[in-house]
Subunit: 244 residues, 2 copies
């Protein structure tokens, strides 16, 4: 239980997909922006913690539960809550509501703080997270387990200039774009994601090439992203047939 | 001279590039959204003209003059004005200002109205554009001339699922992403665009592959996008060395 912060958002045309729903990578980016606004409002902005601690926030895992994806032009409310933390991880909820107050998505995230230069995970300083009023816990919350892909279909992607953020790293949302893109478009037109588990293992840098691999069984798709023979990210997506 | 419409916008982290400047394709998308808001406020929204006339707006040309690119977190004002129109084209300005009122960008666009099904250009109905109070003119405004590329470097791209908009067409902004992406990253880190002329010739559809070709001479880069041996878009970008 921590402080709650909310922001309104309208789904723009240019971030809407062929199903007239918001593109999920975009929604995750906007949610992250909202937590950045909360940090700013509490006096612990990304700039502040970089200046004071030389640390930056990095997401390591997403657990997304979807009731309904927001639609083009829809006004939504994005709520965030820094729920709890232990020695190494901070856990945060995002909840997305429609205008009637119905919950559309719940997004649970694991964050770590890493040293900007060494990219090594740092211990969470109590004073840094105090303003969020999150609960300090002892245990590590276990994320989703991912098994190795067996007979995966593999597609090659080159990391592009506009995939990079301000810090020269591949934007979090891109991984999910590569994962969606290897699925059949007719399947994507007929299905909507119901739950997504996504784990970031290793950062991807510019100039590299990546493989997006997928193994699909009915409405479950298992994904990974690899580069230079190393694992960068893993995901399991459960889909459901859309009502037409 | 037409009615003026303004909207404030803050540059988000996830649309900022390695130079800490807004990604230009994103800025063009947001500008377009602002003209959509103006249309809505005047009772001639995209939905209205689709329902009443079965027409949709399509951009055919951009002429972008850049004083300074907006930066991460900067609050800008996006102003738009439907300037003039003739039998086939509508001409619209976007002007982007900083908080002190300095003009950062001027974007001049040529629009046409096309029939949604046949994709053929329609004549501009006077009553449809009347609410904007744009000046009716006789002459066609000549756009930039583009010569054929001579010894172009060519890079192959596959059209991706998330490149598509709600109507299943490749988003306008993607063309510019493909054009930027073929330039050297060190060049992009050291230069900022000063002017951009961009012409859309033919729509690109999903499943196709495209080539982004470039010919660079100093601070001038000439681009085209082709698919199946046909020309889809052309551009000339003038760059300038960044002050560091």
């Amino acid at each position: 239980m921590g402080k709650i912060y909310r922001q309104n958002y309208r789904i723009p045309f240019y971030e809407t997909d062929v199903n007239h729903q918001v593109k999920l990578p975009h929604l995750l980016s906007v949610a992250l922006q909202v937590s950045g606004q909360q940090s700013l409002s509490l006096g612990v902005s990304d700039e502040d913690i970089f200046d004071q601690y030389h640390l930056v926030w990095v997401i390591t895992e997403y657990d997304v539960q979807i009731e309904r994806m927001p639609r083009y032009g829809e006004d939504i409310i994005i709520e965030t809550e820094a729920d709890s933390y232990n020695r190494l991880f901070c856990y945060r909820y995002f909840r997305i509501f429609d205008q009637e107050g119905n919950q559309l998505l719940s997004i649970f995230c694991h964050f770590v703080l890493i040293d900007f230069d060494t990219r090594k995970v740092a211990q969470v300083p109590d004073d840094l997270v105090a303003p969020y009023e999150a609960t300090k816990i002892k245990k590590l919350i276990r994320g989703q387990k991912y098994r190795d892909l067996q007979e995966a279909k593999e597609t090659f992607y080159h990391v592009r200039y506009f995939d990079l953020d301000m810090n020269g790293h591949v934007n979090n949302g891109k991984y999910l774009e590569w994962m969606y893109d290897v699925l059949d478009i007719d399947f994507l037109r007929q299905h909507s994601p119901k739950s997504i588990h996504l784990k970031y293992v290793k950062e991807i840098h510019y100039g590299g090439d990546i493989y997006s691999r997928v193994e699909q069984e009915g409405v479950i798709s298992r994904h990974d992203i690899t580069s230079n023979g190393e694992l960068n990210a893993q995901a399991i997506i459960e889909w459901e047939k859309k009502d037409v």
